[in-house]
């Protein structure tokens, strides 16, 4: 049975384009132009994934409200935010809306589909399990590529899909500097330096929330970032 994706986007052209693209990949898609109609329909039947635009018509942050309401309906429903503004990303993170990923609208459809696929894979892995896990371990860090789960000292760190890929790119070569451009490629986000910086900052914050002494994400000024192996001395 095809997975059901709901798109809430007030801009009809974008909505239709996304709908068409996702249908082409075999998903069942329903589009909604505003919060009320979306909520009414989604209450009747929850989709497998929701893509929400932050600004819905006159409601500048209508997407946030919708997200909260949907979280009220289901804790596990995967949600992707679409936004035209980078600053919204901080709001999403700061509000702890429980979004599973957030994307800016300048993302290509291929990238969008890749995110959707990644999210479904995570959901599958979480529910089904079973398969051989590709598990990366870096000291206290456990990194499950299949389930897109990250834990530090046994405690789960709730990273989004984008953050997951950035982190993945860093820990594959511990101690090596990854430039911002490399991180962008690896995480399939076509954004700029500034966005990478804020992503790194958010990842750091999430780890620090679990372990206040976390200091593994190192900024290499002028170059990029690196994962400092635990126990390695400064500057190694």
């Amino acid at each position: 049975m095809a997975r059901h994706i709901a798109i809430v986007e007030d801009e009809a052209a974008i909505r239709h384009n996304y709908e068409d693209a996702l249908r082409r990949y075999g998903y069942q898609v329903s589009g909604f132009a505003d919060r009320d109609s979306a909520l009414a329909a989604l209450k009747r039947r929850l989709p497998d994934l929701v893509i929400i635009d932050v600004g819905l018509g006159d409601e500048v942050e209508g997407g946030f409200d919708l997200c909260r309401e949907l979280r009220g309906l289901s804790k596990s429903l995967p949600i992707i935010f679409l936004t035209a503004r980078d600053s919204d990303l901080d709001v999403i993170s700061g509000l702890r809306l429980g979004a599973d990923d957030y994307l800016t609208k300048d993302i290509s459809i291929q990238h969008l589909v890749a995110r959707v696929v990644a999210l479904f894979r995570r959901v599958e892995a979480l529910s089904g399990g079973g398969r051989d896990e590709q598990l990366l371990e870096r000291g206290p860090l456990k990194f499950s590529v299949e389930r897109m789960e990250v834990s530090w000292n046994g405690a789960a760190v709730p990273v989004t899909v984008t953050e997951f890929w950035i982190l993945h790119s860093l820990i594959r070569h511990p101690g090596h500097v990854r430039t911002r451009a490399q991180l962008m490629d690896d995480a399939s986000v076509l954004v700029d330096d500034q966005t990478i910086t804020s992503h790194i900052k958010r990842i750091r914050r999430k780890f620090v929330a679990v372990d206040p002494s976390f200091d593994q994400l190192d900024t290499v000024y002028g170059a990029g970032y690196r994962w400092k192996p635990v126990g390695a001395s400064e500057g190694a």
Binding site: E11, A13, I14, N17, A84, R85, D86, Q194, Y221
Partner: protein, 660 residues
């Protein structure tokens, strides 16, 4: 010239006030003088023409040679010294024909006795000249002729000391005296019978080789003409004094000083301070001789006016006593009898009144005008410094407000009601307008980019969808072109929103204490890895450079400058990052060879959306890089500047960061 200096210079003009007052005062004083001179001369003429016939006769028949018979208030002690004689300097002098012997004569009367002091001086010491002439010692012969008879004394002491005199011609001639040798000769002081009234004396100094003066030359003893004095008193006014002097200036009659005249209404001598005296000398000094105080009872007048009058001309002179500051105006008028100037009438007025008037007027004038001038100057100075301070405050505030174009501080003085207040209000309006405009410009990019995102997303998603369709080669080619265009638009939109996102990032940046030297070194290591093949160099003075900063932002600013330098120059040009400490600031500079800043734009180089690149590359360039640098540096309270290095050596961008 500053405003304050101008006003102060202007206020100095008020000092012309006392100067003109001083000139006026001199005029006034001169006028008062002239009035007084005229009246003084007039009264002198009147006196001269009104001398009673009796005295005219006496003047006509006055003896040729006489010595003034002083009325001595005290009996002089017979000791050969003239100290106790009043005005001993005023004496009759004789000189021998060859000039080798001189005799000075003083005569006075006291208590019916005649006192005579004779001083004989010679050139050279007689005893040394004529050591063998002891037998003929100094000898003085004195003759006194009076209605009572003739007395003759021969004075020839064996040794200096007291003398007893006996007349050789009569019995009633007992006298005494004192002989004193002096370095130049000798002095004899004698006390003789008779008061000396109507007497003549004659004396003879016997000396080798000659006798002198010649025998039979008589010197009259002339007492004051008392009756004439009384008559003159009638002419002397409240503050003036009248004399009749003979051809030698000897006083024959004296009205007496105003202070000593009985029943006089003369005002007491004014009490003047040294300041007033000085003031008077300043005003009238050039026309007033300063001289010793006049004796109360002068025996002989030597004033300039007197000398002139005795020479036959009317004259006026002004003198001022050195100590008492009394100014005297002396007028002399010749008394001509029988075609010859026989005597002179001298009228003198102590012009204390004039002095006082002058002083008081001067004092008031000086005080008033100086007070006014200084008051005015102080007022102007205060006004000027206040004005200048206000202008400076306003100008400082305006230039500060200019720096922060986004939110200019409110200006001082804008509540003031004068022109400066208006200027401040207008300036504030202008600044607000500029700030609004700057704000608009700066947010324009962000807003535009946000608005452009949605249509761009539509285009891109449509193109994405289109590309998944089955397309022929031509359509695919067009699709690729469209995609290329969209990518460029996307890059533009991203660049446009970068600045506004950076502002948000500055607010959220993490601050900490970092060693700037290490930060720069690490950045530089990054550039070396990323830009291998380019000529890069790091100049650092070494040592720790602790700084409270946002390292992410500083690194980003440095990135921009290095990027800028690298992208504007070719592979052969060198880019140097240098870090040093200068005073209380760190200097972080990026220099490169091979490029040059265009003239004229330098002030706006760090503004948003200003690009001065002459080459147009494929990448859109919106001129935000240096704007970001400015934002970062401003967040660190530093400054950034750019300049062409001297001699086409390249360009330097300099960031100054204040050390804590």
């Amino acid at each position: 010239m500053k405003l304050k200096s101008k006003l102060v210079a202007l206020s100095l003009l008020t000092l012309l006030l006392p100067w003109s007052g001083w000139k006026l005062l001199q005029e006034l004083e001169r006028y008062l003088r002239e009035t007084q001179e005229t009246s003084l001369l007039a009264s002198a003429r009147l006196v001269a023409s009104a001398i009673p016939l009796e005295f005219q006769t006496r003047l006509l028949f006055a003896p040729d040679l006489y010595v003034r018979l002083r009325e001595l208030a005290h009996q002089p002690s017979l000791d050969g010294y003239a100290d106790d004689w009043p005005q001993s300097g005023q004496r009759l002098e004789f000189q021998s024909g060859d000039g080798t012997v001189g005799v000075g004569v003083l005569a006075g009367s006291h208590a019916e006795r005649l006192y005579v002091l004779l001083e004989v001086s010679r050139e050279g010491d007689r005893r040394r000249s004529f050591p063998s002439a002891d037998s003929i010692a100094d000898q003085l012969t004195l003759l006194i002729r009076s209605p009572r008879g003739l007395l003759r004394y021969r004075i020839s002491p064996g040794a200096p000391g007291p003398l007893q005199l006996r007349s050789e011609t009569g019995e009633a001639g007992q006298g005494e005296g004192f002989w004193l040798d002096t370095p130049a000769g000798f002095r004899v002081e004698l006390s003789l019978p008779g008061g000396g009234e109507d007497s003549d004396i004659s004396f003879m100094v016997t000396d080798l080789p000659a006798e002198w003066p010649g025998r039979g030359q008589w010197v009259s003893l002339m007492p004051e003409w008392r009756r004439l004095s009384e008559w003159l008193t009638g002419f002397a006014g409240g503050s003036s004094r009248v004399w009749l002097v003979d051809r030698e200036g000897w006083v024959l009659a004296d009205s007496g000083s105003p202070a000593t005249r009985a029943g006089s209404l003369a005002p007491p001598a004014p009490q003047t301070t040294w300041l007033q005296r000085l003031a008077y000398r300043v005003v009238a000094g050039s026309r007033t001789d300063l001289r010793e105080e006049w004796p109360a009872e002068p025996l002989r007048l030597t004033d300039r006016a007197v000398a002139e009058a005795l020479a036959g001309r009317e004259a006026i002179s002004w003198t001022q006593d050195f100590d008492t500051a009394v100014a005297r105006n002396t007028a002399g008028v010749p008394v001509t009898l029988d075609g010859r100037t026989r005597a002179a009438i001298v009228v003198q007025s102590s012009s204390d009144g004039l002095l006082l008037v002058t002083n008081r007027a001067l004092g008031r004038l000086v005080f008033t005008t100086l007070a006014l001038a200084f008051g005015l100057a102080a007022g102007l100075w205060y006004f000027a410094s206040r004005l200048s301070r206000r202008v400076r405050r306003l100008s400082g505030a305006v230039s500060r407000a200019m720096e922060d174009r986004v939110d200019p501080e409110s200006l001082p003085l804008r509540r003031d009601r004068d022109e400066l207040g208006e200027l401040a209000r207008n300036n504030e309006k202008l600044l607000r307008a500029v700030a609004d405009y700057s704000q608009y410009l700066q947010t324009l990019a962000g807003k535009l980019s946000h608005e452009l995102q949605t249509p761009l997303a539509i285009t891109r998603s449509s193109l994405d969808n289109l590309s998944s369709q089955r397309l022929d080669a031509d359509s695919r080619r067009f699709l690729e072109r469209a995609r290329e265009g969209v990518e460029r638009q996307t890059a533009i939109v991203r660049a446009m929103s970068e600045a506004s996102r950076l502002e948000a990032a500055i607010g959220a940046a993490e601050w900490g204490r970092v060693d700037l030297a290490e930060l720069v070194a690490r950045c530089f290591a990054g550039y070396q890895t990323l830009r291998a093949g380019r000529r890069l160099a790091l100049e650092s003075t070494g040592g720790q450079m602790p700084l409270q900063c946002a390292p992410d932002l500083l690194a980003q600013a440095l990135d921009k400058l290095v990027d800028n330098a690298l992208s504007l120059t070719g592979p052969d040009d060198e880019v140097i990052v240098s870090l040093s400490r200068a005073g209380g600031a760190y200097h972080l500079a990026v220099r490169n060879t091979g490029s040059r800043l265009p003239d004229g734009f330098r002030d706006r180089l760090f503004d948003s959306l200003v690009s001065m690149r002459e080459r147009r590359g494929a990448e859109p360039h919106l001129g935000l890089g240096l704007y970001i640098v400015r934002l970062v540096v401003a967040a660190h309270h530093g400054e950034v500047s750019a300049r062409n290095l001297p001699g086409e050596a390249g360009v330097e961008f300099l960031i100054r960061l204040p050390a804590d």
